[in-house]
Symmetry: C2
Subunit: 413 residues, 2 copies
């Protein structure tokens, strides 16, 4: 249902590789019917498959076992999925927004009707994150996971880091190359990564999906100078989605990662998820997190997954009852950059406020140069609440010229 670029990709794979799929998995797929609002304009693609713009033609057809919801957005996707489940059909969806908003309800519904919802394509497209949690890592407690889950942000950050572009130029290049929308705020503000993190965490930690419990910060305020200073510290900047089991916490924010860590080498539009597990040790998955072809391939992999399942005992993919909430009690080493005048007393003010909030300084540096100057402080491990208080007090000083940039240093990864 939905014959956009992803739907057409699924069609192409099932047509061109149907025999190979059957040879490999023992499953033969038949595309019974296509629903698309503008199916009349897509005759070249649809060819001889029955098509319609009336969703009842699909939902009411008892010969259909699996519905692939590739409409995107909330409606009519929500109606399609609920109706399909109520009709006893399994569902494959690539719809992250739908799961972030209505996932808990939809998974409960799937359970009531003994159906399954597969959604590999909804989270980091080509990375088998969901299947890995359902199968590969199932004999583990997931202790923490660290994701690079937004290709737009990672592309922008990598171009700044490697090519010395400023933020605006890197964003323009991402837009030219199709990695960023005309309005990029959903991506660069961290919201896209937060929705993905909320869904993955629900599987990893057996909770309900709650995107509002993800403390979210984007990359718009990161400047080229931050990348340069990070490089001096043998680090790179990444927008990292972090979730930990105990205490349960979810956050998306730019962090400094040591350049030796494998996540520091996830470049450009690639996505990655790094799991810390109880039995299998550390594990990384890396690949393309978006794009019509990788997404279509993930949809087809879910079709195979569902078709190979034992129909007698459907799986309840997200079944947690614990509702995650925002958690503020973090402790990190922090990178702080203050933009200020090169004037006597400024450093004394910064040091005094940090001391009053009981924040211990590991190093301070200020490079000579034209005003405004950047003062960079690396803290010892410090809880975040007093740190945020200190930043608020410092940003209120007359001598501070822009909001302070604060990034955790994820050095224990």
């Amino acid at each position: 249902m939905g014959l956009g670029t992803v739907g057409q990709g699924v069609l192409r794979i099932l047509r061109d590789h149907g025999e190979a799929l059957e040879h490999r998995s023992g499953v033969r797929f038949e595309i019974v019917r296509i629903f698309d609002r503008s199916f009349r304009e897509k005759g070249d693609v649809i060819r001889d498959i029955p098509a319609s713009d009336n969703m009842e033609d699909v939902l009411g057809d008892p010969s259909i076992d699996i519905v692939a919801e590739l409409l995107g957005g909330i409606e009519p996707a929500y109606t399609v999925v609920t109706r399909a489940l109520a009709a006893g059909k399994d569902v494959v969806t690539a719809n992250k927004a739908l799961l972030a908003r209505h996932g808990n309800e939809l998974f409960e519904l799937s359970h009531q009707h003994s159906c399954e919802i597969a959604f590999e394509a909804a989270v980091a497209a080509a990375l088998p994150v969901i299947k890995n949690l359902r199968r590969g890592l199932i004999a583990n407690e997931i202790e923490a996971l660290y994701g690079i889950l937004n290709g737009t942000c990672n592309f922008i950050i990598t171009r700044m880091q490697e090519d010395g572009l400023d933020y605006a130029a890197a964003l323009r290049e991402a837009q030219v190359r199709g990695f960023a929308e005309a309005d990029p705020s959903f991506d660069v503000g961290g919201k896209d990564a937060a929705q993905k993190l909320a869904i993955i965490s629900a599987l990893a930690f057996d909770t309900r999906i709650n995107e509002d419990a993800v403390l979210t910060e984007g990359i718009e305020h990161i400047r080229l100078v931050d990348h340069q200073i990070a490089a001096d510290l043998k680090c790179v900047i990444r927008l990292l989605a972090v979730a930990r089991r105990d205490p349960l916490q979810m956050r998306v924010h730019p962090v400094l990662i040591h350049e030796d860590h494998v996540l520091a080498h996830v470049r450009d539009e690639r996505n990655a998820v790094f799991f810390a597990t109880s039995n299998s040790g550390p594990q990384l998955l890396m690949g393309l997190g978006a794009g019509a072809r990788p997404t279509a391939a993930a949809v087809v992999s879910d079709l195979v997954f569902l078709a190979r399942e034992n129909p007698e005992t459907p799986e309840y993919w997200i079944s947690g009852t614990k509702d995650p909430v925002i958690h503020h009690e973090y402790a990190y080493r922090f990178y702080l950059r203050f933009q200020t005048y090169d004037r006597p007393g400024v450093m004394a003010d910064l040091a005094r406020i940090l001391a009053e909030e009981n924040i211990s300084i590991a190093s301070v540096s200020q490079k000579e140069g034209p005003e405004p100057v950047n003062v960079v402080v690396i803290t010892h491990t410090t809880p975040e609440v007093p740190l945020r208080t200190a930043i608020k007090r410092i940003d209120a000083l007359d001598t501070i010229l822009a909001p302070t940039v604060a990034m955790p240093m994820e050095l224990d990864l």
Copy 2:
């Protein structure tokens, strides 16, 4: 069957996490019976589970659905697996050697008896390589795969690269830390990686398993100076298992990888597999390739996988009929290190022989220092056959003091 460290790990996971497994997957496992030659000495571990040293007690028990073969080696593992399949039981095995030697026959047998053999634990333990090929990437042609498949070699290479240890010292450290056997030749000679590559390739390229078709070279001849020169070239050395679809080729050998590539940051005992795919783009899996706990977790993940399968339509995991053969027609840029005297005419001899074999030189360097000196040549892309001829001729010169070290530069990764 087999209650060594892996078997005990499986027992522990099923006991301690049985409820969590059931909650996540809907599957409840019952350990019906344990076979172990020395079960009488393992009462503390076995507790109240029926155990025996007679394999008939397991193989003849019709209430057993799945047999986990954790014996290792060829016999009695081969007998156990064939008898289990003949009795209609699915099999989980962690036995790489058995699959490398008898895999084709065992998979045919599984097909005849409508059973499945799952073997995630036999290849790179904690990495979900097999499940990813059976499910995550099933809608792709695999064009090539690049694996770091031997943790012993990767540990030794990383310690040489990062700590400046020579080969003998790095090997000793690997032995002390339990990453290398007293006789390390199976690992450092590349044979272990070659067996894994033969199994993975059979799935990826739909061929029979043939470990003899893997052109195999180990790491014993790599010296500290090679790492130092690689670093000057902004590369690192890795023992890479490479397989390509067209033309089908499999090889295990040390190569130079650019330091920016993510595989260059797979360090110490970690394993990784990098796939080049037709629809999903590049994909990397990284994790622990050995160890009792990761292997046990992989066995349990396979138990879940099989238990969730539709029993009506078992999968034929390795079903290719094409038999891979060794393929010699490669072309790479090559790193060549000649050990020789600092004497007039040596360089002229090298250059003349390379020219006669039509091998074009991209760069030459020789560092001043005590004899013997190392002359390093980087070639332009050159086919391997004339290159091997040139090396044979050069190594026959009186002025050449040790076999020439030749490594492909995998720069197109």
